[in-house]
């Protein structure tokens, strides 16, 4: 068996695409209602598509940038270093770039399959990453359904979205088309300075904001949101619909008596472009009363930021 050079599609994926081109059977990950919804709007599923990358992330970042002769700033104010901040001695920029590479390359391979199947884009994309082992190997996967529009025009770049069939149908109906799937990632690190340690000390009966941690999560989230918006704008959309926002914060102890906190924030969503020509979107919402029992109050299910 010859070794694949990591360019284009892996041999197995290539073979699957060729099989799909010859056979008549179309696969898709769509539910029945999703398939009906997009067919009504003129999108046909052409196949289930996937992209996958296994990446070795060997270097996790430098820490808070407070080492050396100063002894880690025992009594001054520490500052948050975000991966998107540029410069600085600490920071996790190389680590974040590795994550971007993984996500975006998995998506790129998914779109290569989409293109080979004659699709105009892919929808309902699940975009995930997981650690394979403790040695720093991670797998990034994008999986979705390729669709082709009943249209004479073809997009300049294939579209991609994590929205499912009914949502895409609603958007198209309202005069918006999904353009691309976007992720913004940021990792911030901040040294636990004297003030932070005092504010967060256990068993104290005072109510107080821990300003250092608040600064860390605020700056990290702001950086992830900025990166997300910049990447969505680069695709050329008019709006971006955030589908998921996560923040994880943990404690690291790079050396004895020196404690930092590291926050990781991701923002995922779809960049959408407007195609209706009037000032107002074409809508015809009806007041309807569904004949079913509601199990609970019908709040939209969204994740925690």
């Amino acid at each position: 068996m010859s070794q694949w050079d990591a360019r284009g599609l892996p041999p197995a994926a290539q073979a699957r695409v060729e099989r799909a081109q010859h056979g008549g059977v179309r696969t898709s990950l769509l539910s029945a209602s999703a398939a009906a919804a997009i067919a009504e709007l003129g999108l046909e599923p052409v196949g289930e598509v996937m992209g996958c990358v296994v990446e070795h992330i060997g270097w996790g970042g430098m820490g808070c940038g407070m080492y050396g002769a100063w002894g880690g700033v025992q009594y001054g104010y520490a500052q948050t270093q975000t991966s998107g901040g540029g410069g600085g001695y600490g920071g996790y920029a190389p680590y974040v770039n590795a994550l971007y590479y993984g996500y975006e390359h998995a998506l790129h391979r998914l779109l290569l399959e989409t293109q080979a199947l004659g699709g105009d884009g892919a929808l309902g994309i699940g975009w995930t990453q997981q650690r394979l082992d403790e040695a720093g190997n991670r797998e990034f996967v994008a999986i979705g359904t390729a669709v082709r529009a009943r249209s004479t025009a073809r997009p300049a770049h294939l579209f991609a979205t994590d929205l499912d069939g009914p949502d895409v149908a609603k958007l198209l109906h309202g005069g918006w088309v999904p353009a691309g799937l976007v992720i913004g990632i940021s990792v911030g690190v901040r040294h636990d300075d004297y003030y932070t340690r005092m504010q967060a000390r256990p068993w104290s009966n005072t109510n107080t904001e821990v300003s250092g941690y608040t600064e860390l999560v605020t700056h990290t989230r702001a950086d992830a949101r900025e990166q997300f918006a910049a990447r969505a704008a680069r695709i050329g959309g008019d709006a971006a619909i955030v589908s998921n926002m996560t923040l994880h914060i943990s404690e690291v102890e790079p050396s004895d008596g020196h404690r930092d906190h590291v926050a990781t924030s991701t923002v995922t969503g779809t960049s959408v472009a407007r195609f209706h020509r009037d000032a107002a979107a074409p809508t015809d919402t009806l007041t309807v009363m569904p004949l079913r029992t509601l199990s609970s109050r019908s709040l939209p299910s969204r994740s925690r930021p």
Partner: protein, 277 residues
Amino acid sequence: MTTADPRELGLPEDAMRRLAEMRPGQATSLFTSDLSVNEFLLVREAGFRPLGLVLGSSIYHVGFQMGRWNKNQELTTLTQAMYHARELAMTRMEAEADVLGADGVVGVRLDIEFKEFGNDLAEFVAVGTAVAADAPPPTGSGWRNNTGKPFTSDLSGQDFWTLVQAGYAPLGMVMGSCVYHIAHQRFWQAMGNIGQNTEIPQFTEALYDARELAMSRMQAEAEQLQAEGIVGVQLLSLPHKWGGHTTEFFAIGTAVRALRDDHVIDRPQLVLPLTDR
């Protein structure tokens, strides 16, 4: 072309043409939003333009306080902490909306997460989408409330659309909190109840008191906004991590005012959905 077949409208054709015109890297005035697709479309239809996602956060050290073992009492330190930290998160979110020149913030979620690190550390987050109205309201000086801040609402897109259709405007999210310690029973009392099905009046009374405190505080906030009423109220018991006998009773809703005198909406059509959900 009111009810034309979408295929005749050439929707996919127009959509694909738009994507074909798209040049990556060209300058656009992009906004981000945390709304679901339903909300995104309905908020626009209700006459509001999304301006961007807004967020406020605070990591807070909640002071330590113990209730007396056998006493029903409010734990005021904890109540104050819950109030203050939520206030910090909400104010920061409103400040972001103010910078964007928003008339209001819709789809607000207010969350609390106690952190694994540290003791008694919790993150309070408020997140929503800032919107600007296409037109001033039919009555009143503007969409903002009487404190001059953008209105806030935690209603879903569907509820928000219906509210505006029915001639009401949101003024702000109002909340009431009360952290309450429910007394443990005395030994002989507990012994007396063994093997019996009986009400424990002491517990019932405590739960009444605590809920009443939370709800009246929420009502007081709505009165300050000169609201006509509060919609979408949720009354939650949040155990957080203070053990079985200490609970936060939390009431939250959206205060509204009337935009016009009649509040009639189109008679709803009955539909039978083809999906389970």
